[in-house]
Amino acid sequence: MTPIALGLANVFGVLVIVLAVAALLIWVERRLLGLWQDRYGPNRVGPFGLLQVVADMIKIFMKEDWVPPFADKAVLVLAPQIIAIVTLVAFAVVPIAPGIGVVNLNIGLLFFLAMSSLGVYSLALGGWASNSKYSLLGGFRAAAQLLSYEVFMGLSLMGVVMLAGTFDLRAIVEAQRHLWFIVPQFVGFVVFTIAGIAEMRRLPFDLPEADAELVAGFHTEYSGFKFGLFFVGEYIGLVLICAMIVTLFLGGWLGPWLPPVVWFVVKTAVLIAFFILLRAALPRPRYDQLMAYGWKVMLPLALVNLAVTGAIVVARAPAH
């Protein structure tokens, strides 16, 4: 195969697989939530309810693509596209296995952080353009939450960057050949996981949606395909954040006996299941608690981790 064909195969393979996994996650999440809440979840359509995904898709595509008359139409249509595109683009830098992955940027980590920061536009604009009070509140919350948690999300990764000495995700994975970064960077791992949940607006940090208080937050006025895009964006975001944790802290594709792709997929799947478990288990904090938690606990923790890691790296560096 020529390099171009190989590249195209990678691009479309990753695209198709990521979208398929995102769709499948709807079913996986509902079944797992059911399992942990002593019930079944969707088990009627097809084997184990697997065709529920298809049924949901048909339903969401058949729905009227409605734009509220009071909304800002252009922005309303644009907002869900941003989140879907941005998370998909961010997936491009994820190193799935040697030779598998869309691009190999030497600033891959920064690219990921930049793209996940852009996601906030989607929520804020969607909330603003909907021109309804719930959407607006959800949009505000999304903006504040995502900006706050982004700060130490980036900071918590700097320890990894220092240890690996590079922003290149493939080099970071290779640097974990002897010891996964979860051991020396455990604090960074915890902080990044929590920030990742908040960044992808997963429960328990789904304040921007907060069904109990804000109806559905920023996507209250969305329906049909546009709502579907928000959903796809959210699930790709979940896969993305799990893939990033695996890459940065759990040794990526590294592992004995099994082929690298299998290791990557297994690790990511376990993390996704863990995130769903958190959704099943934890209640949503109050908004001020969320903010206080971020700024007063997580940020100092990330900074201390950064300073200690830096000091150790400098102390152990050969003098020259």
């Binding site: 059911g34 399992l35 942990w36 002593d38 019930r39 958190l278 288990a281 934890l282």
Partner: protein, 171 residues
């Protein structure tokens, strides 16, 4: 933080619990005998209709879903000419059963009455009438009531003394 982790662990252990869901169409749930479900009209042990068309059920019905028309046969025995229950309105409160003086109208423990056409939920008398006496197998209204009716005169009912002869002098 610690409590969150412990919560997550507890929920994780729920993976090994039995699921509480009853897989309904295949697996039927237990329905208590006093369940208030589909309404029926019962017959007395002799096979006659119990309903005497007194309208009390229609009056008691909070959603006005019962409609009937009283009429009499040649013996002066009252019965409903038609008896109609609109089950798309019925809330299965059981007030009609409580109001019924003859145990004619009864609620059963059948609840599977789904229909695709709303009109099919309007049950006529022939849909409502069952062949048996329902929850009260021994009860026969006309055999315990003091009313004189075709084939049964005053004083012939169960536990009823013959009527006092007003024209006799003896006590």
């Amino acid at each position: 933080m610690w409590s969150s982790i412990r919560t997550a662990w507890t929920i994780f252990l729920h993976m090994f619990r039995r699921r509480v869901t009853i897989q309904y169409p295949e697996e039927k749930p237990y329905i208590p005998p006093r369940w208030r479900g589909r309404i029926i009209l019962s017959r007395d042990p002799d096979g006659g209709e119990r309903c005497v068309a007194c309208y009390l059920c229609a009056v008691a019905c909070p959603v006005d879903c019962i409609s009937l028309q009283a009429t009499e046969d040649e013996h002066g025995r009252r019965y409903p000419e038609f008896f109609r229950i609109n089950f798309s309105r019925c809330i299965f409160c059981g007030y009609c059963e409580e109001a019924c003086p003859t145990y004619a109208i009864q609620l059963t423990n059948d609840f599977e009455m789904g229909e695709y056409d709303r009109q099919n939920l309007v049950y006529e008398k022939e849909d409502l009438l069952i062949d048996g006496p329902g929850k009260y197998p021994e009860y026969n209204f006309y055999r315990v009531a003091g009313l004189a009716i075709g084939g049964k005169d005053k004083g012939e009912a169960e536990n009823e003394a013959p009527p006092v002869d007003l024209k006799r002098l003896l006590p």
